[in-house]
């Protein structure tokens, strides 16, 4: 069976700083992977590499059987299959919520304006955002903006969704609504790779948890195994710090 994502020997440096030092990661369809680890451990860079937002130095990334890191790959075609949601939402401030969602289906998938609007309106409604369709992003709360950003990514019907610390920029009271939306997607079988600091959420939603440390996947396993009986000393230290910080 072809994997949804298959990453082998991925290396990435920024100048002299080697951020990813040989990542191997395989993800099955409908699997939810949570990446945990300290800031700077390479979680965001890994996600940006999978989305081809960062060129890689060595290794390969294969999506649904097709290697996307070889020369001559159509970058735009590849990206539309891979949705990514950022920590800072990155909604387009000069467009209404609906326009934010319809832009890519209309421009990239060449859906007619009417079809794009119909589908996008349905998506917004499904996630309880239909009353915000004609608002500009500045008028929304952070939680609502992030939910719109997720809907915007979903509108491209991606095969995989990458979530890059999507709740880190949010007020604690707004985190829950975003996590609920992601849970719902997990239940519906969306393949996701989620970089997160929300350990409770990771334990709850992930099929597998990967602990990143200094650019390598130091340990991976089921949430129970990672959170209850981590094998690596580094994993234990990290989880201790998280517990001390009251995040779990």
């Amino acid at each position: 069976m072809t994997r949804a994502v298959d990453i082998q020997g991925l290396h990435k440096s920024f100048g002299d700083l080697e951020v990813l030092k040989g990542i191997d990661l395989a993800v099955d369809s409908h699997e939810v992977i949570c990446l945990i680890g300290a800031s700077g451990s390479g979680k965001s860079t890994l996600l940006r590499c999978i989305n081809l937002l960062e060129p890689i130095d060595a290794g390969s990334i294969t999506i649904a059987g097709e290697e996307i890191t070889r020369r001559g790959v159509n970058v735009d075609d590849t990206r539309r299959k891979i949705g990514i949601v950022f920590q800072a939402f990155n909604l387009f401030p000069h467009m209404t919520v609906l326009h934010n969602v319809t832009l890519a289906p209309h421009e990239v998938l060449k859906a007619s304006k009417r079809d794009a609007e119909r589908d996008s309106t349905a998506l917004l409604e499904r996630f309880g955002l239909s009353d915000k369709a004609s608002d500009y992003p500045d008028r929304l709360s952070g939680g609502q903006q992030q939910r719109v950003a997720i809907v915007r990514a979903l509108a491209m019907r991606p095969e995989i969704l990458l979530l890059d610390e999507v709740t880190s920029a949010l007020d604690p009271v707004l985190v829950a609504e975003v996590l609920d939306q992601i849970r719902e997607l997990a239940e519906q079988g969306m393949t996701m790779i989620i970089a997160t600091h929300e350990m409770g959420f990771a334990r709850d939603v992930a099929n597998r948890v990967c602990f990143l440390h200094e650019g390598q996947i130091l340990e991976e396993g089921s949430p129970e195994q990672i959170f209850s009986e981590p094998e690596q000393e580094e994993t234990r230290l990290f989880l201790d710090r998280i517990i001390a910080a009251g995040r779990m």
Binding site: N51, L53, D76, D77, R79, R80, I82, G83, I84, F86, A88, N90, L91, F92, P93, H94, L103, A104, E107, V108, L109, Y136, D138, R139, L140, S141, G142, R152, A153, M156
Partner: protein, 303 residues
């Protein structure tokens, strides 16, 4: 700029300037600042009004009672001369309007092309970037009046086939070339002010480089550069008077002809008033545009 006007083109004016865009129109926060020195209590406003009236009243009295005033008044502010010359100059001013309107449209297009060329990423586009940079360096460095003379007298003198022999064509082309260099820099500042994460978001959705530029970067960039853009356009409108050196009988040329015939400078003052009268409403219009855009995007109830 030959007229010495206009800002440094790289200056980025944050939308809204110093007036609060969330206030309803009319309640421009600048006025209380000027009138009451920041504190708008009733007593302070009265003190401000009183001191202003006394101050400018004194200046007026001093000016009017000074020994040379009657001569100055007769030479610069002659009522009869004003009434007879104003309509004639205004009629020729239509030609200035034609020149700068056509030039402005061309500038908007040419400058955008140059700015986009200069913002192209990647090593392949190096020659285009160099060309765009050289263009801006060249035409920002040469005085406008020189470009007008070079094109307006130089090109027709070549007597080549297909080269138009029309002063308006060359005047408009010269102004377009010079002001495109300034406006391209304004556009470029706007393009660079759009955060890279916006491009990342657009590209991650599968939009191409050009689609990201067109739908995400440029709309935000253009909105941000409207105030500095208008500054350059006001400069361009004033510099439309420079084309008189080609012998085009536009407003300045007409005013000079009357001034030399009547030995009176009032026609030049009249033309100055016309220029002032067209620039001030434009500045207010841009303030209004910015305020409207901000209101649309951001209510005071925003979280």
């Amino acid at each position: 700029m030959a007229s010495g006007s206009g800002p440094s083109p790289n200056v980025y004016f944050p939308p809204g300037g110093d007036s609060d865009p969330r206030l309803p129109p009319g309640s421009d926060s600048r006025w209380p600042k000027i009138l009451g020195g920041g504190d708008s209590s009733a007593r302070n406003v009265w003190i401000a009004v009183g001191s202003t009236v006394i101050f400018f009243g004194l200046i007026a009295v001093i000016v009017v009672r000074s020994p040379g005033w009657p001569e100055i008044k007769d030479s610069f502010f002659n009522g009869a001369e004003f009434r007879s010359s104003f309509p004639v100059i205004l009629e020729k001013f239509v030609r200035n309007i034609f020149i700068f309107c056509v030039a402005e449209v061309l500038v908007l297009i040419l400058a955008l092309i140059i700015a986009v060329l200069r913002s192209l990423p990647g090593p392949v586009f190096t020659p285009l970037r160099i060309m765009a940079a050289a263009y801006t360096d060249l035409f920002r460095g040469v005085p406008t009046i020189l470009v007008i003379l070079l094109l307006g007298f130089g090109m027709p003198a070549l007597d080549l086939q297909g080269i138009p022999d029309n002063d308006y064509v060359w005047a408009i082309m010269a102004l377009t070339l010079v002001y495109s260099a300034y406006v391209a820099e304004v556009y470029r500042a706007g393009i660079q002010s759009v955060h890279p994460s916006q491009v990342a978001a657009a590209r991650s959705l599968g939009l191409s480089r050009w689609q990201s530029m067109r739908h995400v970067v440029l709309p935000q960039a253009v909105r941000r550069v409207i105030p500095p853009l208008l500054n350059d356009f006001i400069g361009l409108q004033k510099d439309s008077a420079l084309v008189y050196v080609l012998g085009v009988v536009e407003a300045l040329n007409k005013a000079t002809i009357i001034q030399q015939g009547d030995f009176n400078f009032t026609p030049l003052v009249a033309l100055s008033l016309i220029f002032i009268a067209i620039t001030i409403p434009q500045a207010r219009f841009v303030d209004w545009l910015i305020a409207r855009d901000q209101r649309k995007r951001q209510s005071s109830a925003a979280v």
